[in-house]
Amino acid sequence: MSFRPVAYVARHVQAFLGSLGRLARNPLATMLTLVVIALALALPLGLKIFVTNARAATGDFANALDISVYLRTDVSLEKAEQLARSARERPDVAEVTLIPADQALAEFREHSGFAAALQVLQENPLPHVLHVRPTRESSSPAAIETLRRYFAAWPEVEIVQLDTEWVLRFNAILELLRRFLAIAALVLAVGVLAVVGNTIRLEILNRRAEIEVTKLVGGSNAFVRRPFLYTGALYGLGGALLALGIVVAAVVALEGPVATLAQSYGSEYTLTGPAREDVGALLAGGVLLGWIGAWIAAARHLRDIEPRA
């Protein structure tokens, strides 16, 4: 038999529309399946959005990882500037800010409320300070420790201070959440496969007579499988769209309270919903999972159905 591309495409369109029609004719059963798939897909998407928002709300981690290098009080400003230049040459350092002792004292006098008391000091007790910000690539705990040791080894340095433990802990929590998200996505993907697979299995059993007749008149396994694959893909797509709706609704519901909370801390932060690439990944993932689930069920059950005489 020669290949007829137009007829072949027409058969695919027919199978797709047939699958769509079958789902529409059983709205309750279809909706129940879609809700189960949607919940399974909404959870990882919701977690992803939570992690993204948590990162955004806490600012850029690299910016938070400043190292304060306190020089000895007998180090001159010229020497401090030379040390700052030297620090800037390191590839793992993004930015070095020198705070001269006089500037530090002036700021302290202005903001501390001890201006009168500070007047009695004979000399400036504050040292010059270098604020070192590592590059984003060198923000890991190990890289920060390397930098700390490097500055601590300078004879002009009195103390190197790292107030970054909370950031590292928070970073670790987010990493944990990311891992949890990956595991949850994997487990729930298997769940979607199982839901679609079982739904398709039941549909295959319901349509056993039709499958037998189709095979009897010469329908190939590919032909018989086609509408079930489209049904699986439609379940996946429908479930993904519903999941997107659930997540967007949750973001909208939380937007106001989050903004109010942020304002109470003097922040302009607002909750962000799923990004375009998240939506793309969700829809593509839903369709793919539905298709694969249907394929597994069809491959397993269709070969057992042969026409009877």
């Binding site: 038999m1 007829a7 189709t214 009897l216 008149v217 329908g219 042969e306 005489a309």
Partner: protein, 231 residues
Amino acid sequence: MIVFDHVVKRYPNGREALSGVTFRIDAGEMVFLTGRSGAGKSTVLKLIALLERPTRGTVLVNGKNTGALKPRHVPAFRRNIGVVFQDHRLLADRPVYDNVALPLIVADTPLKEIDRRVRAALDQVGLRGKENALPLELSVGEQQRVGIARAVVSKPPLLIADEPTGNLDPELSLEVMRLFKRFSDVGVTVVIATHDLNLVREFGQREIVLDNGRVVNPQESDDLPSVIATR
């Protein structure tokens, strides 16, 4: 052409349905398979339509050795055989048109061609105008004619029928048989399994009589070796 050469069919439960059956049916012939229930008529049809494979021996259908046919070639093989059942096997939720069109759809036939052939097939069985009816809205005789239209719509060279008149009254049975005769007259090979001997005598066609898995009219095995030798 159909050739059975010393065909044995034993089912997994150990029952031997055919015990060395040999016969030949030429292209364009109309042949009745007769015998009591359990004689092996349905098994012969199953082997022809490749619903079963022989345990031993050779079955040649339309020039193909069915025992050696690979599974991926079975759908194409079946597209050259029209099958009619006693219980019609129609899709109850599809209109007559869709039921008849099914063999053409699975063969990726262009839509215009499907339309032309479905209407022609319904015309042949006298069901023009019933395209949109559901099978259950039709009489038993009409349902059987839909089954026949589905079997012949793709113009297969071979038509097999298993007790096609089993549920019909004598008048309708005669009508259905006349349809089969018309297809045979235009070159279609027709094989009908039936236990209605009156009907068989009425048409006076060749008869292969089976009993307990064997052909009991021995003249059926004439001339077989030369046919097999050419394969």
